[in-house]
Amino acid sequence: MRSLWKKVRCIIGEATMLLICCIFLLPFYYLVVNTFKNQQEASSAPMALPATVSFENYIKAFDSMDFFRSFGNSLLITAVSVTVIVLFGAMAAYPIARRKHKVYKGILLYFLLGYMVPAQTIMVPLYLTLQKMHLLNNIWGLVVIYSSWCNFSLFLYQGFFGSVPEELEESARIDGCGPWKSFWLITFPLLQPVTATIVIFEVMWIWNDFLYPYLFLSSNKSFTLVMQVYKGVGQFSNDWGMMMATMVIVLIPVLVFYLFMQKNIVAGITSGSVKG
């Protein structure tokens, strides 16, 4: 009797949680379901399933946003910046973690200095620097900016070096391997768990970032996907069926990334935040 009651309680508890999950995801249902309706239908029954499925909103959205160009921009900016952040961060962490001289301690402190500085603090001077470098309204300008935030990856790598055995590098040195070669052949591959964490965090930040593209990109040809949503809302604020279709299109790559990387994202949060 008692175990039966316990089972029933379990089932009720789980059903309640599933219901809460569904409520939690309702905004996304609302978003998707209304992209298939015309304006009138969406106004009269926003939560109902569409009476007839129409792809008109998607066609309009796709035509107005130059999807492939923006997707390419987002992809290029994210891929190059993340690669640079990983390489620069890992390289800089290597001497700081391995060399004993106090010069390296001082350099670490120097990198720490800018760690807490919010991006908003340096926006205006950064704008002028980019202007001088002729990198405004240029996706490479964004790559340069994102890459400069390599101190975050530096700290994660530096913290991880302790668990990478130094003996391997030692024996490589005896075999006549210079620091450059031994770093890339032996040490860097062993850093792979942190590299995965850094890649995921940086990809999610850079792909989704709105602040920098908003400030530093001004024409459609350099826009990222997130900027296309911003532009669309400004231009077609009344046609929200089409706006929602734009958002769904922009969300699809993120959704794919999430489905493939879900396990790694969770692992990254676990290792990246609790220990750090």
């Binding site: 599933l18 290597y94 908003q120 603090t121 205006v124 950064l126 709105f210 911003y230 706006m243 609790v274």
Partner: protein, 290 residues
């Protein structure tokens, strides 16, 4: 210890790329951001600058929008971390129990943390709209209440921003707690159960104290991100109605990039930076003493 250049040069070369990028694009602009608000710099040439003392700081502190922004940002940075923590801890405990669908549930709660906050803000601006397609008010009226001006009423708008932000990051922070919960050995609870502890007692006496490290991390992330918030209110309300949801980041951008008052914008940015660093340091100290 003597610095032996010949031996250290190969290692210094490893530092070189990060050092250059960081110095040129973070430290140099930071130095400028500290120095330029004390001058009458207009954004063009660096020659013939005059020292103006604290004028820019005084002006920005007398700026009505700035005063509202400080107030709003503080309210937001108190309530967002508080609500998220109060909800994320029990949620993590539930999602850590033995449910058949727990993987699906974790994925569902986490999902709003994945897309750009800008897109989520626009999505919620449709949901909270006073027009026909604003489903939230349909729901409210179906329950027999008066429709609420979620985003257009100056007293409600900030609350709406906070609610959406909680929905946005709840799953992420529950995930931080789940990670720590998985490290708590099961026999602790077993022993407590044998001693006749209730579920409530176990939660407050075992789970909560052992979650301290995760809580320190989560609250710090929440606080810093709350102080820096920009995308979400920008998309949801644009800072309005009036200045009721204007945040500090938005004032810095508005003064600097729209009004071209560089001096004031950078003065605001420096105050903002000092504020963020102070909060971070205080929070870290508090977490360590705990």
């Amino acid at each position: 210890m003597k610095f032996r250049w010949k031996k250290e040069v190969p290692y210094l070369l490893f530092l070189f790329p990060a050092f250059i990028a960081y110095t040129a694009l973070i430290m140099w602009p930071l130095l400028q951001a500290f120095g330029l608000p004390f001058t009458d710099w207009k954004g063009y040439t660096m020659e013939g600058l005059n020292y103006v003392g604290l004028k820019n700081y005084i002006k920005i502190l007398g700026d009505k929008e700035m005063v509202y922004a400080i107030k709003n940002t503080i309210i937001y940075a108190v309530f967002n971390p508080m609500l998220v923590t109060v909800l994320a801890v029990p949620l993590a405990v539930i999602l850590n129990s033995k449910m058949k669908t727990k993987n699906f549930q974790r994925a569902a709660f986490f999902f709003p943390s994945v897309p750009s906050a800008l897109i989520l803000g626009y999505l919620w601006s449709y949901i909270m709209s006073p027009l026909d397609y604003g489903v939230l008010n349909r729901f409210v009226t179906a329950l027999g209440f008066e429709p609420i001006l979620w985003l257009a009423h100056p007293k409600v708008a900030l609350l709406s921003v906070i609610l959406v932000s909680v929905w946005n990051v709840l799953g992420w922070h529950a995930c931080i707690y789940i990670a720590q919960l998985q490290g708590i050995p099961e026999d602790l609870f077993e022993a407590a159960r044998i001693d006749g502890a209730t579920a409530m007692q176990m939660f407050f006496r075992i789970t909560l104290p052992l979650l301290r490290p995760a809580m320190a991390t989560s609250v710090m992330l929440l606080l810093i991100n709350a102080l820096k918030i920009f995308d979400l209110p920008f998309a949801l309300t644009g800072g309005g109605p009036g200045y009721s949801t204007t945040m500090l980041s938005q004032v810095i951008i508005q003064r600097g990039f729209v009004d071209k008052m560089y001096g004031r914008s950078m003065a605001a940015a420096i105050l903002f930076c000092i504020f963020v660093v102070a909060v971070t340091v205080i929070q870290r100290k508090a977490a360590r003493e705990d």
